[in-house]
């Protein structure tokens, strides 16, 4: 089985050119990213590492089309995404990007299966197909027997695996993860690292932001950041 069945796109799958991102913080301006240029090829497994406040999450947000750069260009799968309208960006994320966060953010009133089905429902996938694919994804992340469980009935590691299954629901071009092992104990973190490796081996392009040395070491490539710049990549 191949996850996901990604569309044929030209490499690199992620391309950032001279990207700057400034924030207003009171009267001051914070330069979170200062001219970042970065390419990620299809099938890559990239870990972005660096000290807190160096701009890792800002970079991930720009790649994930949930933020826009102050200047520079961002292209994902050959499409410029740095100046999209909210509606275009939402549709783009829905079809192309899978997100995994430190806190799992599953909807508490929905079962694991329903949580995984949610992005597919948003993409107007038929009910039957949603149920089949959600069950398949839960099986893939090792939760085939937890379909009907609600988040409160799952451990932290299980919840994160449901979140990963949800991220894969619409066969994204790119899987982005922000500190995915940040709230997990070491053993559970190792399980998630293994799952990411398996996903990458099955063809998923992964970009992960982490402080976790083990998770970063599992990546094929490390991008080091400092003071809003890529110092080693």
């Amino acid at each position: 089985m191949s996850w996901p069945a990604a569309a044929e796109v030209e490499s690199p799958i992620v391309s950032l050119r001279e990207v700057r991102r400034d924030y207003a913080l009171g009267a001051e301006r914070v330069h979170a990213l200062q001219g970042v240029t970065l390419d990620v090829d299809r099938g890559d497994y990239v870990a972005i590492v660096g000290p807190s406040g160096c701009g890792k999450s800002t970079l991930l947000n720009l790649i994930g089309v949930i933020d826009q750069p102050t200047s520079g260009t961002v292209s994902i799968a050959g499409k410029r995404v740095d100046a999209m309208s909210d509606r275009e960006a939402t549709q783009f994320r829905l079809r192309n990007i899978g997100f995994v966060f430190q806190r799992f953010y599953l909807l508490p009133i929905l079962s694991a299966l329903e949580n995984v089905s949610l992005p597919m429902a948003e993409a107007n996938v038929s009910k039957r197909e949603r149920a089949e694919r959600a069950a398949e994804l839960l099986k893939y992340v090792g939760l085939g027997n937890r379909e009907r469980h609600r988040p409160s009935e799952l451990s932290g590691g299980e919840q994160q695996r449901v979140a990963i299954a949800r991220a894969l629901a619409n066969r994204p071009t790119l899987l982005l993860a922000d500190e995915p092992t940040g709230e997990l104990d070491a053993r559970t973190g190792t399980e998630i690292i293994s799952l990411f490796q398996r996903l990458n081996a099955d063809g998923t392009t992964i970009v992960v932001v982490t402080h976790d040395e083990d998770l970063a070491s599992a990546a094929a490539r490390k991008v080091h950041m400092r003071d809003g710049k890529v110092v080693v990549g």
């Binding site: 939402t90 994320r93 899978g98 966060f101």
Partner: protein, 365 residues
């Protein structure tokens, strides 16, 4: 409270309307310039008026009613009350609960309150007078009448000693009211226009005021405008408080779930769906409140109705809070509309959350 206020705003009017229509008489004739039994004035010439009215083919039934005060002598004491002189075949003032109607000239029917005041039973003979002179301490218009039945007066109050006898009997006891009536009740033919008949009567009989149900309700509406205004103000206040409460609850909920909402947006959930969800939450809270409030509102309304209906002089059948499905639907509709309105601001907040900024704040928190 909203339901109670909607019930109060419409209850008395509807209750009064159904009270007037309960016996099917659509028009009432009172002495010029007064409401029925509003004064002691009477209309002379019952026979002539009846003949005039019978000339109109749209009039099906005419029931002249004579009202008077009576004294029932009980040895050293007397019990005061009121009596109606009616024609039992067309009367629309009472319902017979037990015994028989006033089929003979020496018969009287009484309500439960009067029967208890007298300590009498059906079949007892009463010494009834229609006048009393306090200077000479003498009674006039005395007559022995047999209690034939127990009745419930439709327009009578709970604490009113009421009785009825044949109109001829009351006229005989009060000769000055011979061929006079305090009120005429007129039933129109099915399909006839009561307002047109009323206009016709006023033209034919210039010495009477003809009051149709619509006119009476308009007059009652005018007199009860204070209650309606009070109900309107309290209803608006309760709706506004509910609106603020739901807005606050949903806003707090949105603020607490800012991270969750940001993640939903990040994974591709559209702004429109976020708005729908939050508005739906407001509606759901309002709906749940409405269902709980319905029960509580009905209990409160019943309690308040018991208190208000006990006011002296009010007809037993008048309800201040009348439950009508329409009132309940109106309250529910207003609450749902309020829920939608209450959800709009937090929905707008939720949909406008900057995704990256909200996630960053959540991560720091």
């Amino acid at each position: 409270m909203l339901l109670d206020m909607v019930m109060l705003a419409t209850g008395m009017r509807e209750s009064f309307r159904s009270l007037l229509l309960s016996r099917g008489f659509e028009i009432r004739l009172a002495p010029k310039g007064s409401l029925p039994f509003d004064s002691d004035a009477t209309i002379p010439g019952v026979s002539a008026i009846t003949s005039t009215l019978r000339a109109n083919p749209d009039i099906r039934e005419i029931s002249p009613v004579l009202g008077a005060s009576i004294h029932i002598l009980m040895g050293s004491r007397d019990v005061s009350g009121s009596a109606l002189g009616i024609d039992p075949s067309v009367q629309g003032d009472y319902e017979l609960l037990s015994g028989r109607d006033v089929t003979t000239a020496d018969a009287i029917v009484v309500n439960d309150y009067l029967l208890r005041q007298l300590g009498a039973r059906i079949g007892d003979t009463l010494n009834v007078a229609t006048g009393y002179d306090p200077q000479t301490r003498t009674y006039s218009g005395q007559r022995k009448l047999v209690v034939m039945g127990l009745v419930k007066f439709i327009y009578g109050a709970n604490d009113q000693s009421s009785s009825a006898m044949r109109r001829e009997t009351l006229e005989a006891m009060r000769p000055q009211t011979r061929d006079r009536a305090s009120l005429f009740m007129v039933r129109v033919r099915d399909g006839a226009n009561a307002e047109q008949v009323r206009d016709w009567i006023e033209k034919q009989l210039p010495n009477v005021t003809a009051i149709s149900i619509a006119t009476a309700i308009a007059q009652v509406d005018e007199r009860l405008s204070y209650f309606r205004q009070l109900a309107l103000i309290l209803g608006v206040v309760s709706l506004f408080v509910g609106f603020l409460l739901v807005t606050t609850l949903v806003t707090v909920s949105v603020n607490e779930r800012a991270g969750e909402i940001a993640v939903m947006r990040a994974i591709g959930v559209s702004r429109l769906h976020v708005i729908q969800q939050v508005v739906l939450e407001g509606v759901a809270i309002s709906f749940a409140g409405a269902v709980l409030g319905l029960g509580l509102g009905l209990i409160t309304a019943r309690y308040l109705n018991t208190i208000l209906s006990a006011f002296p002089g009010l007809p037993m059948a008048i309800d201040f809070f009348l439950f009508q499905p329409r009132a309940a639907w109106s309250a529910l509709g207003l609450l749902i509309a309020s829920g939608i309105g209450a959800g709009i601001y937090p929905a707008w907040r939720a949909a406008s959350l900057p995704i990256a900024e909200s996630l960053r704040r959540e991560a720091i928190a």
